[in-house]
Symmetry: C2
Subunit: 333 residues, 2 copies
């Protein structure tokens, strides 16, 4: 057994806390620090923040440099924001400290798409410091991109790919139910959607990831968002959706290639969704139809894939990595 | 666009010929040679051997060195045999000539399992010559190992994995129908199975691949084989199976870990199989259930994945690679 990878958890929201708990379970990993400037956690023992019922002897630091004064580390699990440009300075600081980084930042799945200059800059910084950065998660990161891409490995020719993910938001955490607009009046939903306050971040990143992996130049990419209307009143643990209100969101990203619709990714996340599932349909030779029955459980899967990718990232050649460039992602001990 | 990868096809059986045809379709690849010592092909133009209806200006060579006198190459697609020890000398010659190699040799999926010394030797040879070797295919290579392994990437914990592949052999080539014993009397089936003349090669390799990828030490591995009896007379394009005869094979590989059945891979290949499909069931947190509806069409998928992995192999660090160590396999242009 190699020495455990020493990990600092940056960001102690729901996903960050679950990732930190999972690191504690893994023999191949060792949790050595935690960073979050939020007043309700900073300075507290991480065991208390994670509700473990015992101390960990790890005090939550306000910033990375403070955590690094106490302990040496190999890698950071970074769970703070969705925008690559928004978290760029944090990622750059991690890299400058010689630490690898797996981030849940949705745009980091395919950072070259929205922030090509910053991505190239981070790639150079990684190479200089001999470390790697990877953006992943359940979606983006697995269901609608990595799994769909691997499915094409057995295809001689690929004409088009459709991916459908249907999530019953009632089974997810409160923040996600709010994020998809469950319980809002339709006018309110549309206003918030226009302000980009209701949306799943990363659908276009998933689409661009597939296109890039297949070597496809897309003529055009677009993304649309619409409310799914509740057909009857639905009650979740956290909120009530009345008939006619928004139950959640239907979001579609489309990619055209050579004048045809070559990629379509559709995400439905709403409370009361029937037959939740992930479906990948590849039109090609041979055609492939892959279904994750019941769908991939996002709240458990996201911390899992973040943690599981750490050893793969450390094995990789230094640089800005993607789920297509690291070794095969899989569960770790 | 990078320069095309120059490919030599070694082995012109059914899979080799289909792989060669596919190389001709790919912009990123260039077919520069073919090797097969069989009297009915050696010396002929490859276009004729492949039934293309036109010449290719590539004469089928009796051995690799002859082909290399005419043309320089980057990689070999190797489709000659199932036993790693049996094809070792061919692979070593390819590597010594400074060529990368993707092979359909089933045991090469996980060569360290049956031939650890030869595998280590080939790995050193690869490193010395700056090239890589990879064993892949649809099964072993994709359905029951690579796809199953990737599925665990979203799991916090994995307790056990069951994979079931059901193939209607009537949809497959004649050689495969014969290989699974379709149309044999049961006593004859059992005799040939004992002599290892009826069997799918690579099921245990798939199982060991998963275990190795997950870092699992297995206490015990075994594999069993039994005939599937025809419940009624079935006629295929190539043969007739009478009621009570063997319709094909049911093969099961099992891996025990910590006293429990942790891995079970079951392959059913028989004429008239109902509901052909590939099913991956991961017991864990979260559980995952992935189904390839209709199953992955082997005769089309095997040449596809061999060809598709060529660029991934060339990108890899020199050495003996596996489907877990190369970048994400996917369709290429």
């Amino acid at each position: 057994m190699n020495k455990p990878i020493r990990v600092i958890q940056c960001g102690l929201g729901v996903i960050g806390c679950n990732a930190a708990r999972l690191v504690l379970e893994k023999k191949s990993l060792q949790l050595v620090g935690a960073v979050d400037p939020a007043p309700h956690v900073v300075g507290r023992d991480l065991g208390d923040v994670l509700d473990l019922g015992h101390k960990l002897g790890i005090r939550v630091a306000d910033k990375l440099s403070t955590a690094l004064q106490k302990k040496r580390a190999d890698a950071v699990l970074h769970c703070t924001g969705s925008s690559f440009a928004g978290v760029y300075d944090q990622l750059a600081e991690i890299v400058r400290n010689g630490l690898h980084c797996v981030t849940s930042c949705e745009e980091a799945l395919m950072p070259y798409y929205r922030a090509p200059k910053l991505a190239a800059q981070l790639n150079r910084l990684c190479a200089r410091h001999g470390v790697s950065v990877l953006g992943t998660g359940v979606n983006p990161g697995f269901v609608m991109d990595t799994l769909a891409t691997l499915t094409t490995a057995v295809c001689q020719r690929v004409h088009s790919i459709n991916v459908l993910r249907v999530v019953d938001a009632a089974t997810r955490r409160e923040a996600l139910q709010r994020k998809v607009g469950a319980g809002l009046e339709i006018t309110e939903f549309r206003r918030l959607a226009r302000e980009l306050k209701i949306r799943h971040v990363g659908l276009t990143e998933s689409l661009v990831f597939i296109a890039e992996a297949l070597g496809w130049n897309l003529d055009e990419v677009d993304e649309s968002i619409a409310p799914v209307l509740a057909e009857k009143t639905v009650q979740t643990k956290f909120l009530t959706v009345r008939k006619g209100q928004a139950a959640g969101v239907r979001q579609v990203a489309t990619g055209w290639r050579r004048g045809k619709k070559a990629l379509e990714l559709e995400l439905q996340m709403y409370v009361g969704a029937r037959n939740p599932r992930d479906e990948i349909a590849v039109e090609g030779v041979p055609p492939m139809r892959v279904v994750v029955e019941g769908g991939t459980a996002g709240d458990e899967a996201t911390p899992a894939i973040l943690v599981n990718c750490l050893p793969r990232l450390i094995e990789a050649t230094p640089g800005l990595q993607t789920m297509a460039t690291i070794g095969l992602a899989r569960a770790i001990l």
